[in-house]
């Protein structure tokens, strides 16, 4: 049985991950690590403040913050432990470093800004559809307590669309009568808009257009519970992979 640890077990996402992992018959939760919040989890497992508690795990799930994860992930690679990472805020050079460390270790580092299957499929479908359309824009909509914009999911989506097609119609705008009204220009000129709205949770919409038609792919996350099936799937897929994998869509069979 796959032995799994969690870094950041005292946080909301990390705690939910502990619960989901402990409830899966194919997985064994062997370590819950959080230097700030030590306690006993639902299943009787005491959480540890030192990451060495996870030294025997096959896979570790990291839901911490970028500052801590930069060091944690390199340590995991050194210990030859696969990583499934929901922490956000990494730079391109962070990713390069993680990629090198895990490739050298022959272990997988799966980093995803969004573990909801609806978001994963949206990203993949947007990428597959991109070559068939002339224009595309992405709108992400979140609750009004979110302090960063755009979401990591929106950024990864436009990156994947830009990689899938470089052939997009130019922006027609000549007179921008309110500054910034066309949103942000992402890779390949694909525009990104961020809406912050009380009463919303987390939503992404990709619109693609061609002569006489449009295609819209939208995902709505209404509850944190939506992320756990994706975390479990990533944990189970990790042992068969190695190196850096960004986005859970890489694990889809199409």
């Amino acid at each position: 049985m796959l032995q799994v640890g969690v870094f950041g077990s005292g946080g909301r996402m990390g705690g939910a991950a502990c619960e989901a992992l402990a409830g899966d018959p194919e997985l064994e939760l062997v370590a819950a690590v959080d230097p700030n919040r030590v306690g006993v989890l639902a299943g009787g497992l005491a959480s540890a403040s030192d990451r060495r508690a996870a030294a025997d795990a096959d896979v570790v799930v990291d839901f911490t913050v970028a500052e801590a994860a930069r060091d944690n992930l390199v340590w995991l690679a050194e210990q030859k432990i696969h990583a499934v990472v929901g922490t956000t805020g990494f730079t391109d050079s962070d990713l390069e470093r993680f990629g090198a460390a895990f490739t050298a270790a022959g272990r997988a580092c799966i980093i995803a800004p969004n573990f909801a299957i609806s978001a994963v499929l949206m990203m993949r479908f947007a990428e597959l559809a991109a070559p068939y359309f002339d224009t595309a824009e992405v709108i992400e909509l979140h609750h009004d307590a979110k302090i960063d914009a755009p979401s990591g999911t929106a950024r990864l989506t436009v990156e994947k669309m830009a990689a899938a097609s470089g052939s997009w119609a130019p922006d027609p705008t000549v007179h921008e009568m309110l500054s910034g009204v066309r949103g942000a220009e992402g890779p390949a000129g694909i525009r990104v808009h961020a809406v912050r709205m009380r009463g919303m949770v987390a939503h992404h919409e990709v619109i693609l257009g061609a002569e006489g038609q449009t295609l819209t792919i939208r995902q709505d996350s209404t509850d944190r519970s939506s992320f756990m099936p994706g975390v479990l799937a990533a944990v189970k897929a990790a042992p068969d992979r190695s190196g850096l994998i960004v986005g859970l869509d890489a694990l889809l069979g199409f």
Copy 2:
């Protein structure tokens, strides 16, 4: 019977207006003016190149360009003729000048960025709903040949919402990781986003949010035919009004 003239009869909107006016049993089309394109209209009326052909009209519909309309509208006020104006691109000082001229003449100058009843109602409903919500943003979506952004309809909508409520939650964004991603800041901090998409025509969406709920009001214009009922309604309403009226929603009974 109300006698009506059209300025800009050789253009697409002006031509459609001539046809709609000629087909209405309550109205008589008495002058079609266009200095650039003179011809004979469907109903047998010859178009004129000089605006004086419309001197006996009760109401004139203007679908020209701002440069021409600035002068035309003042002339109409002097002739004591009501104006219904679909021309766009006026400045605030233009509007002030028109207001003064028509108020002095005891005639109405009805200027609307959008004559589609769906857009008119959207604007009015957004204004009525504004006081009940904490956050609001406007997304306008148009075909990818539109060179200005945002649409006049979007701008008028946020102006009316801002006038209806000044009590909006502040923008939560601290880290804008792609420049401009939060769109343009309109009056009262209401954000406006402009999407340009092949396969689309003209669409506006107002989203309002409060604790645990959102309200979305969306209008889709798929054909220029959608504008004519609004033009006819404005023409018929003009004789009972005077001074400057911006937005057809002022003619609604609620």
Copy 3:
């Protein structure tokens, strides 16, 4: 200060109502009644099993079930207490009876299938827009544990639209290749569709169409908290009203 009681205080909606009423500086919660679940509320008020505990209230909020409410409401009218009712499942003859009783008592009975302001405004806007369009349909979408269809909100919406306009284009369908695919025929032939979807909460969409354009009014409820502002508003409005009032939109100023 207005004295308010709650019937059904042990239920989820009733409990939330107690909390909201107790927290409002303009209102005093004087009685919480539930024959099945007696206890002490957050504010120290002991709930009662007998409705007579509410005999001195000015207004009583009823979140029970139709069987209990049929008797409760008549009793409230007899006691000359205003009623604000979120209970559903009444027949037309129930409503008639309540109307007669409260009109005779000079007290108000405000019954609403939905207290969310987004739903209240949607209903009212649909009613105001109806005369301007040729076709209309309503789609309601709820979580997949909802056992009745369509929602009371959807039914009340089509009733109000049908009352606002009788001039709708006929259904064009000649070949219905899957039985029932056109949804239910509501009043004035307005079609209603009910979607049941895991991951959703409670959502309503009204679509209206005319030549070349459509107007869509949509409300999304993502949390029960969205109902309480409407309950408080109804409680405060009740003393100025009398007789039966169905739908909170009757309390809007437009």
Copy 4:
């Protein structure tokens, strides 16, 4: 160069197909057949009333009616000509017969209810997503002159989704308070709703739900021009295929 004929060249879709085929540098339009409307096409090609004019074509595009196409398609198989068919209204036994004839002839018969790439991708994405969700419903929305419901595209979509997953949550509805409100029950219990709305053209929306999340895939066709790229792609793909192929999504590479 591939030689192509068109059956039904006098109709709107057939005429548009002639134009698109004639304009493609990789294709040669060699025959335009229509027994009812004979004439000279834009490119100088005279249309014929007898299908034998197309006897030397490699591929024939059929936009006629089911009654005519039943015989035409068998004749094409006999002549060893590939068929690309936009005609609708076939029964299951028609399809079986076409499959047998074209398989025997070693030629392809590509039948699609919708040649718009947005619809083709929507269908394929719905099929790929189906196994990841617990509930799904399809809403199709068309102009109010469409006499059949639901659209062939909607029917084919639910068939493909049902084939991709048999594991769907049961319909929760116990009280259907308006008859037919839950729409039609398609294969595997997937519900289908048909909206008929003035101002709309042709639109399809697939909604899929799982715990805490939904995925929506929507396509909007606003103009007949959206179909022609799909027709050309099917014509070019036909020579590499044989037997019956239903839905253009079978030609996608994923």
